[in-house]
């Protein structure tokens, strides 16, 4: 798996953050970017025909939060191996540990630095 031609799923309730993350992901050649506004919307998209290479999710979202989404993905056959990056305002160490313990591969606190995000994704996909 490489970051070229990768298919990303952004799970964020904030349109501002979705657009900003999407902007950063366009650095990856031929990337496909799909957006979801909460955990339930994300699961709907994950259960469709699209096969995603990486999920980027916020924590605090309505309907289903990011931690429940991570937990659900990790317990679902066919989805459990997709790398997950949590992008959140919750920057305390215990929040980070909780996110990683649930199965997230990386934890990036907001405000995000595009270069940090790109580096993290490249490390996970290449």
């Amino acid at each position: 798996m490489t970051s070229e031609n990768a298919k990303f799923l952004i799970v964020e309730d904030s349109p501002t953050m979705r657009q900003l993350i999407s902007f950063s992901l366009r650095r990856f050649r031929n990337a496909t970017i799909i957006e979801a506004c909460d955990g339930v919307d994300a699961l709907k998209k994950l259960s469709g025909p699209e096969k995603f290479d990486l999920i980027l999710t916020d924590i605090n979202m309505p309907v289903m939060d990011g931690l429940k989404l991570v937990s659900h993905v990790r317990q679902t056959a066919g989805l459990k191996d997709i790398p997950i990056i949590i992008i959140t305002t919750e920057g305390a160490e215990e929040d980070r540990e909780r996110g990683l313990a649930l199965g997230a591969n990386a934890y990036i606190p907001k405000p995000i630095q595009s270069s940090h995000l790109i580096r993290t994704i490249s490390e996970l996909l290449n």
Binding site: T16, Q19, F23, T89, G91, P109, K110, P111, S114
Partner: protein, 234 residues
């Protein structure tokens, strides 16, 4: 009469000497070339460092421009007042990294600034019910002068936020954004935060003002439409 073996030996010795001297000269040339190459290598290492530094700088500028573009794009993406306020909140939380803040708008009838949206009342009690007269204290002063204010020293309080930014349309303030605390992972404002504050001062105010005007015109249109309907049905 000389010994032919001695002459042969001398001849061989001289050839060996010439060969050794040639080797020494070659060695000297190579030493010089290695020294030049080492010098060039050092120059290239320095150039690489310079390029890496410039790349990081461009990367940061790119990141900052993306944040400013997205903020500006989103602010003008709707004419719905609540949505505009929601977008301003998203920018303050997600792009600037504020934990506690208030957006206060000026009531033109009473000349009072009142909180219309906020976050983090648990870390700054009272942020949700802010009410300040135009010109009073830091926040009122920012609205009156139209100049941003940043806390240089001391802990923030309800009257003295970390940052107070006027929402201005030309020279007239329509409100103030007051930031009280930053997220735990954010130590201080960065260069792009000041750019975002400047963008919010100009663009958030016009977006808020436009959405208010749009809501008013919608209400008037509905009233006129109802009146016309009444006239045509009666």
């Amino acid at each position: 009469m000389s010994d032919p073996r001695a002459e042969k030996f001398l001849e061989l010795f001289n050839k060996g000497k010439e060969f050794t001297e040639e080797l020494l000269r070659e060695n000297e040339r190579l030493r010089y070339r290695i020294a030049s190459m080492e010098e060039r290598f050092r120059e290239i290492v320095e150039e690489n460092k310079d390029f890496a530094g410039r790349y990081a700088e461009i990367e940061e500028q790119n990141n900052n421009l993306a944040s400013l573009y997205v903020a500006s794009y989103q602010l003008h993406s709707t004419l719905d007042f609540r949505e505009v306020i929601q977008i301003v909140q998203e920018i303050i939380v997600n792009l600037i990294g504020a934990k506690s803040f208030a957006i206060a708008l000026l009531d033109e009838n009473t000349n009072e600034l009142r909180t219309i949206a906020w976050e983090g009342e648990d870390v700054m009690p009272g942020v949700d019910t802010l009410s300040v007269s135009l010109g009073a204290g830091v926040i009122g002063g920012v609205a009156a002068s139209g100049e941003s204010w940043f806390l240089r020293e001391g802990a923030p309080s309800l009257d003295r936020p970390l940052a107070a930014v006027p929402l201005k349309i030309k020279d007239q303030s329509i409100g103030v954004i007051a930031v009280y605390n930053l997220l735990v992972q954010k130590e201080a404002f960065t260069a792009v935060d000041y750019e975002l504050f400047a963008l919010l001062a100009a663009h958030a105010s016009t977006a808020i003002f436009s959405s208010k005007l749009f809501a008013q015109s919608e209400r008037r249109l509905n009233t006129i439409q109802s009146f016309l309907d009444l006239l045509t049905t009666s």
